[in-house]
């Protein structure tokens, strides 16, 4: 597939390398001539100097036949405009934008950007996962379904210890997928499964009901 990457910064550079390794035809658009030269010296003629937000630049590099455009500059507004120009002027079927401000995800979706990736969110999630006392960790988000997969830790203080799964008042959007106990094998929770301190519960829920799920699983 022909993939156009907007922004030759650190993220763009490693993305370019990875996509080239996978055998794609890739071109990076980068405004800074110095960065462009470095990439060209190292990887060959896979970098074009120009503004990826300009329809004429995108036309010059044959965006019309691109299967995907990925905008990974450090500025949300530039990534948005690059994706919009690609979509509306060149009919690129799939546009992906990097976000600095996670709040912009809703706007970008509304304006037709197919996929948004919030680097801030990803780093936050990774850090939360490493903080052992954090009761709820988001493991993954499935944006197109509006669901998230979370990990909830049952601690000795949880008032739900000793309760059965059927006695919990879970939000209706939530489904418990797996219980990983402190000792022994992971098992799929049934109605009569009893919660124990040290359990790690993997569950699927909507982003809005994360808090309610945590309360239902751990008590107040």
């Amino acid at each position: 597939m022909y993939i156009i990457v907007i922004g030759g910064g650190r993220l763009g550079y490693y993305l370019l390398k990875a996509l080239l390794n996978e055998g794609h035809e890739v071109l990076v658009l980068e405004k800074d001539s110095r960065i462009c030269r470095t990439i060209t010296d190292e990887l060959g003629s896979v970098c074009f100097r120009g503004d990826g937000c300009e329809a004429s630049t995108l036309a010059e590099v044959g965006t019309g036949r691109a299967g995907m455009l990925v905008a990974v500059t450090g500025d949300d507004e530039d990534n948005l405009v690059a994706c919009q120009v690609a979509k509306h002027k060149h009919n690129v079927p799939r546009t992906v934008a990097r976000l600095r401000n996670p709040q912009n995800a809703i706007l970008f979706k509304k304006l037709g950007v197919d996929v948004t990736i919030s680097t801030t969110d990803i780093i936050l999630e990774a850090i939360e996962r490493e903080v052992p006392t954090h009761p709820l960790t988001q493991l993954m988000s499935i944006d197109e379904k509006g669901l998230v997969i979370v990990d909830v830790k049952i601690t000795p203080e949880s008032t739900t210890v000793g309760k059965k799964v059927k006695e919990l008042s879970l939000p209706k959007e939530s489904k418990l997928a797996l219980i990983i106990p402190n000792k022994g094998n992971a098992h799929v929770p049934a109605a009569n499964t009893v919660l124990q301190a040290g359990d790690q519960i993997i569950a699927v829920t909507s982003p809005e009901t994360k808090g309610a799920l945590q309360v239902a699983l751990r008590g107040v």
Partner: protein, 139 residues
């Protein structure tokens, strides 16, 4: 009318004071407080520090009650993004956007923003002025 202006540059400051003199409720948003020096001492509106491409900043500026939002920063993309937030997230009835790049201006105009390209307007104006002078000379 309640008007929010993003960008307190020469045009932003001048436009803000014009609308203020006419009795409108004006809020100017800029991410550099030093820009507010351009507002005249008589300015009776609000000058607010904040980044206009941030939904929270727009809310603080009172976007939910605004009748008009105007984006006048130096960055075309910033203007475009803030206007789309005002239009699509906050449903502001009238959203006006300065876009220097004529190509981008045409595209966003098709996409439903009220756009002005100073590049196009000024070039046209110069051309007309010169043509008028020539006509007079011929007469």
């Amino acid at each position: 009318m309640k008007i929010i202006i993003m960008g307190c540059g020469r045009v932003g400051a001048r436009f803000a004071s014009l609308m203020d003199e006419d009795g409108h409720e004006v809020t100017v948003l800029d991410n550099d407080t030093y820009s507010f020096r351009r507002l005249p001492a008589s300015f009776g509106g609000t000058a607010l520090f904040g980044n206009g491409i941030d939904e929270e900043a727009q809310k603080r500026a009172g976007i939910e009650e605004a009748d008009i939002f105007v984006a006048l920063t130096q960055g075309d993309n910033r203007n475009v993004m803030s206007c789309q937030i005002a239009k699509h997230i906050f449903n502001v009835p009238r959203v006006m956007c300065r876009i220097y790049d004529p190509l981008r201006e045409e595209m966003y105009s098709v996409l439903g923003l009220e756009t002005i390209s100073p590049t196009k307007v000024f070039a046209q104006l110069l051309k007309e002025k010169i043509e008028k002078k020539e006509e007079k000379a011929e007469d």
